[in-house]
């Protein structure tokens, strides 16, 4: 190794140290990961709050609150809709560790819960979210090594229900019990751990038993594997007993002992403790395959009976009888009056309600068990029942949901009972005491069958977006009419598969579009100030559109209609400003020749003196400010007594005025105290409007460009500090839109009128920025229009200003709009159209760093891969060919029947009565040239069937994804190839279903130069593939042509041997294919592909393949990247270089001719570079091929590792792209749990120094909620190299101010400068 380094660095005389030329990257999180590892419900911030703590994959803990909508509005006969129930993010804690388990602890005598976290830091941490803060670390006690090791506790955390002890257990052997107490001051204390280890015991689950106030007991499912030794002496693995064990903490002796153990079902994997003490029977429910058992020490049943209290679960009709259904999650909910029930979910998603029948004489004695079907839900990682009668479901795949229980007594549901099982047992007495009785076969005989349909007992209330798993990403402006690129991700799995189109910014719903007679020069709305309308939130009465030589006045009512002169407006001149004046229906219109005051239908004019014209104007309810050409500013004010508009003051600004704003009238006062005037000399001035001091300049600021528009705005919000909630943040904000396309924001002192020195400037687009005031969620916000529309608002929760673009076409002019139908709208013009829009604030703010909006297109199976195809019309008549970009997606699901087979079985996938009509399911065999492109008849049918007497909203609330029938034997696949049109909201153009268990795994666009370079779609498939062992009966490369830019036509299929086809790439006018351990180059033939050359002997499987020039970069499933070069003269593929480190490659992206970024299965991203000049000998022009005759691995040069970074989640897709049109490129990656991140290359030495230093300080100063060192975490598998953790740097903003200033001082900057730098870096990316 040392020799190698010497060689590379000593390469030639002008050796440059690698570190000085190396790439430095900044990791930035665009969208946090959305997958939930586990979640717990409780009251965390204060008693009475219904909250959920969520552990996200990627190390984020979040506290969410269920905010119930219909709280005290029941009796109020308000026509306004009840606000819906929502889940609101309250706090977020970045732990920078791998989160594994959570449990709530309610300390003795407390009315709130704290949360105990099991992570990989080798420490038990207890977090307290009192008051909604950022999670105070109550305790964090180290007990062992870091990492997710076999015998380091952290996998399971369980607490005593009375809050006296916490158990933290490892997968194998170790269990530690911590005793919780309170010291004299009432502060919780934690004692040193007591050991409850058991050698060779694998723990499957652990839970704290409800034991009243007796000694705390923890229950665990354990399996002790035999000691290694001679095979002859060992029991078979199947014969090892799985046990349920009770560990008792003797509080008197301060000692833990294994108190009791019993054999349980071998497939048992989850536990839930039932209420005990005086409230219930105590003990645990054990979930395994097909059976749920109730076990407890001292539980006695009649010896003639089944020796354990067990019942089976109702089964799906199409489930094979010999396949068990595993219960994967059980949760217990205590109701009032010491009643309780448990919910158990199976691996198929069916949720069962489990109730115990109690002895009527003794409520603590269980005599029977009833299991009835509740509903089919998405498969969950956590089920949290809240006391509000709601169920929060953290889904594994797809969106998380909050459900409302509509009923919990299920008289007509399919039910299994203990009596039924016992009766069957009596009939068929087996000697093994029932152990042999609890099998899948008996369960299948006993259980009633059901067909999963839509939700019957639950109703969806709220949805949290969850794009996990994300399997691929693509960035590009493919929609064709938008300015900035969209992010296309393949997400979901099985019935929840979807293509998600993610756009930066808030989504906009278009409410109305109408044509205008010309291109407008301005648009205004006038609030209704007639005597009848009162209150602050007035609707608008007019929309005023100004043209070059006319004004159009539209009245707002039931419909929007044009009114002529009866409005009193001058309609043959443009309007510069207009507003309602006072409270008696008076209006004011400023046109270039004067100011028109309309009162009771009569107009009074103020004419400009001489030949001067009004350049710009602004008005509000009581004030009008106009600027004449030459820089003269005149101020008018409404006299409240007479109702007249009087000229009050005049001032010469000394420069031409290009924009001005008179501000808004604060509530409770009669006028705005300041106005802002922007001049052509690149200054913006604040002038006073106070009576004694009229038009006196208070402050000014110089700009780098001419101001285009400016507004003064009052932005109110709660103070960011959670502790003093009453502190209302009310600031006067000056927003300036500049000619150079940027916007500037500064605060203005509301007493002195001085502009703060720290401005925030952001580039918005290529056009001068027009700013106007709008209202969002009843808060003042601003709309900024450049080549992209933007919104700037104050986030009420964090107190930060958030700037987000709108995903909409460019707008020219806009202003706020309010009517009965549209509460908070925007009326805007784009070209010759007038549009009424409403801005959706979902995804904006709420703790998210960036606003993204998502559009979801449902797919049929788990999407695997996608590619872009450029399809031509193929018109023969020599007409100019128009090309169109099409997205091709391959989808496949293992252990799933194809669409046709499912329909033949009577399964329609989405509920409703089956009615397998012949029309459904487009099947096509070898002749895959399909006719119609319609898709998913199943879905549509479901819609019509379920739609009986249900409105669409109700239908949506009842819809639930249902996994297809599980095939009996392995090797079944459902798969299809799909074409989508990105310019038409990703409508499906064609979908070709693969049949006969053929699975499409990869696709690529290829142009065969020998065939005229027509773009074709190549798809790699396997048939009857099983995963364990990895085997298939055949694999194919299928070529499709796109006909008429919308249909797939099968050209031919080529059978290949050697293994599955996992990667395809266009390579020098041919097709390069990774087949198992070999790489083959194909030319297109008439009936099949023709093999030209191949390279054999690659380590495991070629997983990824990309080409550049005559080089191919291939990622091996286990042995990292190999670089192959094509030697055209000898027609050979030559292995040029390989990476010496074994990386199981999952994703790969080329950065340049020599460099590739790879993501591996453990969640690392590495950047690998081919050393300079190392492939010179590969292509042999001399014809003497002896040198490279054999490409042996040890002879090939090694790739250098430039960067290395542990992301924390498996990186499944990467692409090199910029997120704004014309911006710098960065490496965008997605992870399996739905995170979108970017690795941004640093461009200057200063930035590198700044961020490296900041990161170093942050590593020392940042909180460690789980005791994990941030540097150690980012170096999980291998030390982090040349990547700065941007998340960690941005944690600077949440530090305490003293710490912030300490760090800033060390960096030789002010806190504001550091903040600004962080924000600017972020803004440069998006």
């Amino acid at each position: 190794m040392a020799v190698d380094e010497a060689k590379t660095s000593g390469d030639g005389g002008d050796a440059i140290p690698v570190s000085s030329v190396a790439m430095k990257l900044l990791d930035m999180r665009l969208k946090p990961s959305s997958a939930i590892v586990t979640s717990v419900a409780g009251e965390f911030t204060a008693a009475g709050n219904h909250e959920i703590v969520i552990a996200r994959s990627g190390g984020t803990l979040e506290l969410h609150r269920i905010v119930q909508g219909k709280s005290d509005k029941e009796d109020e006969e308000d026509d306004e809709e009840d606000p819906p129930t929502v889940i609101k993010l309250v706090a977020r804690v970045e732990t920078r560790s791998v989160l594994r388990s959570l449990c709530t602890v309610r300390l003795t005598g407390d009315k709130r819960d704290v949360v105990a976290v099991g992570a990989d830091g080798g420490a038990l941490s207890v977090l307290d979210f009192e008051g909604g803060g950022t999670g105070k670390i109550v305790h964090c006690c180290d007990y062992g090594k870091t990492g997710c090791r076999r015998s380091t506790p952290g996998q399971y955390v369980a607490a005593d229900p009375k809050g006296r002890a916490v158990m933290i257990a490892a997968i194998e052997k170790r269990k530690l019990v911590y005793v919780l107490n309170r010291d004299a001051t009432g502060k919780p204390t934690i004692a040193s751990p007591l050991e409850a280890h058991r050698g060779r015991a694998i723990t499957f689950d652990a839970v704290g038993l409800d034991n009243g106030y007796d000694n705390p007991i923890f229950a665990a499912i354990e399996l002790q594997y035999p000691e290694s030794g001679d095979a002859a002496e060992l029991p078979n693995a199947d014969q090892v007993e799985k046990q349920l064990a009770y560990y008792e903490l003797d509080l008197g002796l301060n000692h833990v002992s294994r108190r009791w153990a019993t054999t349980t079902h071998r497939t048992a994997c989850c536990l839930a403790a039932l209420p005990g003490g005086n409230d219930g029977p105590g003990g645990v429910l054990v979930g395994g395959e097909d059976w749920i058992e109730y076990l407890h020490e001292g539980l006695t049943l009649d010896s003639n009976n089944l020796t354990r209290l067990a019942a089976t679960i109702p089964r799906r009709t199409l489930h094979p009888t010999e396949k068990g259904i595993l219960i994967t999650k059980i949760t217990v909910h205590k109701q009032k009056k010491s009643k309780f029930f448990a919910l158990a979910q199976s691996e198929l998603g069916d949720v069962y309600k489990v109730t115990l029948e109690l002895d009527p004489a003794d409520k603590t004695k269980a005599t029977g068990m009833v299991i009835s079907l509740l509903d089919t839900l998405p498969i969950a990682n956590a089920l949290n029942v809240s006391k509000l009668g709601m169920l929060f479901l953290a889904a594994q795949v797809g969106d998380h949901h909050l459900y409302q229980f509509e009923r919990i007594d299920l008289p007509d549901a399919q039910t299994c009972t203990y009596e039924q099982a016992n009766a069957a047992y009596q009939k068929l007495i087996t000697k093994e005491g029932g152990a042999k009785f609890l099998t899948t076969t008996t369960a299948a005989q006993l259980a009633p069958n059901f067909k999963p349909t839509m939700l019957k007992n639950l109703r969806k209330l709220f949805t949290l977006d969850n794009p996990s798993p994300t399997t691929a990403v693509m960035v590009g402006e493919l929609a064709g009419n938008e300015v900035s690129p969209q992010i296309y991700t393949l997400t979901g799995s099985g019935p929840r598969s979807a293509l998600r189109i993610i756009r930066h910014g808030a989504s906009v719903s278009e409410l109305a579009v109408s044509e205008l007679p010309g291109i407008p020069g301005g648009i205004f709305t006038i609030a209704d100030n007639s005597a009848g309308s009162t209150g602050t939130n007035r609707n608008d009465q007019y929309i005023v559109v100004s043209f070059a030589d006319a004004t159009l006045v539209l009245s707002v009512g039931e419909t929007v209609e044009e009114v002529g002169r009866e409005s009193g407006f001058l309609t043959n001149a443009p309007t510069l400003a207009c507003s309602a004046l006072g409270n008696d229906g008076a209006l004011c219109q400023v046109h270039p020749a004067g100011v028109r005051h309309i009162q009771h239908g009569q107009a009074r004019q103020w004419h400009c003196p001489g030949l001067k014209r009004i350049e710009c104007a602004s008005s509000n309810e009581s004030q009008v400010l106009i600027a004449l050409s030459g820089g003269e500013v005149i101020y008018f004010q409404l006299d409240p007594q007479s109702g007249n508009l009087t000229e009050c003051a005049t001032r010469d600004m000394g420069a031409d005025v290009c924009c001005l704003d008179v501000g808004t009238v604060p509530e409770g006062s009669s006028r705005s105290l300041f106005a802002v005037v922007g001049c052509r000399d690149q200054t913006v001035r604040i002038v006073s409007l106070e009576p004694g001091n009229l038009l006196h300049q208070q402050s000014s600021t110089a700009l780098k460009s001419r101001p285009h528009t400016c507004i003064l705005q009052r932005m109110a919000g709660e103070a960011p500090d959670g502790k003093n909630k009453n502190a209302i943040l009310d600031e006067l904000v000056l927003v300036i839109g500049l000619d150079d396309g940027s916007a500037l924001r500064a605060t203005v002192d509301s007493v002195t009128g001085s502009i703060s020195t720290s401005h925030t400037k952001r580039f918005l687009g290529a056009r001068p920025v027009a700013v106007s005031r709008i209202s969002l969620e009843s808060r003042a916000s601003s709309l900024l229009l450049s080549s992209r529309p933007w919104i700037s608002r104050l986030d009420p929760t964090s107190g930060k200003h958030i700037m987000a673009p709108l995903s909409y076409t460019p707008l020219d002019h806009g202003c706020s709009f309010r009517s009965d139908a549209v509460k908070e709208g925007v009326v805007a013009t784009a070209g010759k159209t007038l549009r009424i829009l409403s801005v959706d604030t979902v995804g904006m703010g709420g703790g998210q760093e960036e606003a993204f909006n998502t559009q979801k297109i449902d797919l049929r199976y788990t999407p695997r891969n996608m590619t872009l195809l450029s399809a031509g019309t193929g018109n023969p008549a020599g007409a100019p060919e128009s090309r169109k970009i099409i997205v091709a997606v391959v989808e496949s699901d293992y252990n799933e029947y194809g669409q046709e087979a499912k329909i033949a079985m009577g399964f329609d996938g989405t509920g409703g009565a089956a009615a397998a009509s012949s029309g459904g399911g487009k099947a096509n065999d070898d002749s895959m040239d399909m006719d119609e492109g319609s898709d998913d008849e199943g879905d549509k049918k479901m819609d019509t069937e379920e739609g009986d007497g249900m409105d669409p909203e109700e239908k949506e609330a009842r819809k639930t994804p249902i996994r297809g029938p599980v095939p009996n034997a392995p090797g079944h696949w459902g798969s299809c190839v799909r074409l989508l049109d990105p310019s038409d909201a990703c409508r499906t153009l064609d979908c070709v279903e693969m049949n006969r268990n053929e699975a499409a795994l990869c696709c690529a666009s290829v142009r065969f130069h020998s065939k005229g370079g027509e773009p074709l779609l190549a798809v790699g498939t396997v048939t009857n593939m099983t995963l364990q062992p990895l085997r298939q009966t055949a694999s194919y490369i299928i070529l499709y042509r796109v006909v008429n830019r919308e249909r797939l036509q099968l050209l031919h299929r080529t059978a290949v041997d050697d293994g599955p086809v996992l990667a395809l790439a266009h390579f020098q006018g041919r097709l390069l294919v990774g087949i198992g351990k070999s790489l083959k180059l194909y030319e297109m033939g008439k009936r099949q592909l023709l093999r030209k050359c191949e390279l054999r002997g690659l380590p495991t499987y070629v997983k990824t393949l990309q080409t550049a020039g005559d080089r191919a970069f291939l990622g091996d499933m286990m042995q990292s990247v190999h670089i192959v070069r094509y030697d055209a003269s000898a027609n050979r593929l030559v292995l040029v270089a390989a990476d010496p480190n074994p990386r199981p490659i999952v994703s790969q992206e080329l950065l340049d001719w020599n460099t590739a970024a790879v993501g591996d299965k453990y969640g690392n991203i590495s950047i690998l570079r081919l050393p300079r000049g190392s492939d010179t000998g590969a292509v042999d022009f001399t014809g003497q091929r002896a040198l490279w005759g054999s490409s042996r691995e040890d002879a090939a040069p090694r790739l250098e590792q430039l960067c290395h970074f542990y992301v924390g989640e498996v990186v499944t897709g990467m692409t090199r792209s910029s997120l704004v049109a014309g911006g710098a490129e960065s490496l965008i990656y997605v992870t399996v749990s739905g995170r979108i991140g970017a690795l941004v290359p640093f461009t200057s030495r200063d930035d590198v120094d700044f961020f490296s230093q900041l990161e170093a300080h942050m590593r020392m100063d940042v909180d460690r909620p789980t005791g994990r060192d941030p540097l150690a975490y980012r170096s999980y598998y291998s030390p982090v190299i040349h990547v700065v953790d941007g998340d960690l740097c941005s944690a600077f903003t949440s530090l305490h101010h003293t710490e912030q200033s300490k760090i800033a001082e060390k960096l030789d900057r002010t806190v504001g400068e550091v903040m600004k730098k962080l924000e600017d870096t972020r803004n440069a990316l998006l």
Binding site: C148, R149, I171, S228, Y894, L1027, G1163, V1210
Partner: protein
Amino acid sequence: MSAPGGGSISAEQLKARYVGTGHADMSKHEFLTNQHRDTYASHIGHYDQLFYYSVAQNQAVGRVRLEFLEKMVQPCGPPPKRTEVERLLEK
């Protein structure tokens, strides 16, 4: 190496404390069994990896977790039968 009290810990004790530490006479099977157990434990601990497998296999995460835990019992199958010579050598 010393215990918290200051007394020294023998290698035997350390081996008992840390699961999977090998010894000089370790067989290949034993070594691999330990390695596989460690790997499975790591996969189970990292949710993202477990989830990745579950998506590939189209199974619930709970099922994959149970399978991995079960595989930890004998990840490489039962140990190979020892020959008579080996048995004698051990004694």
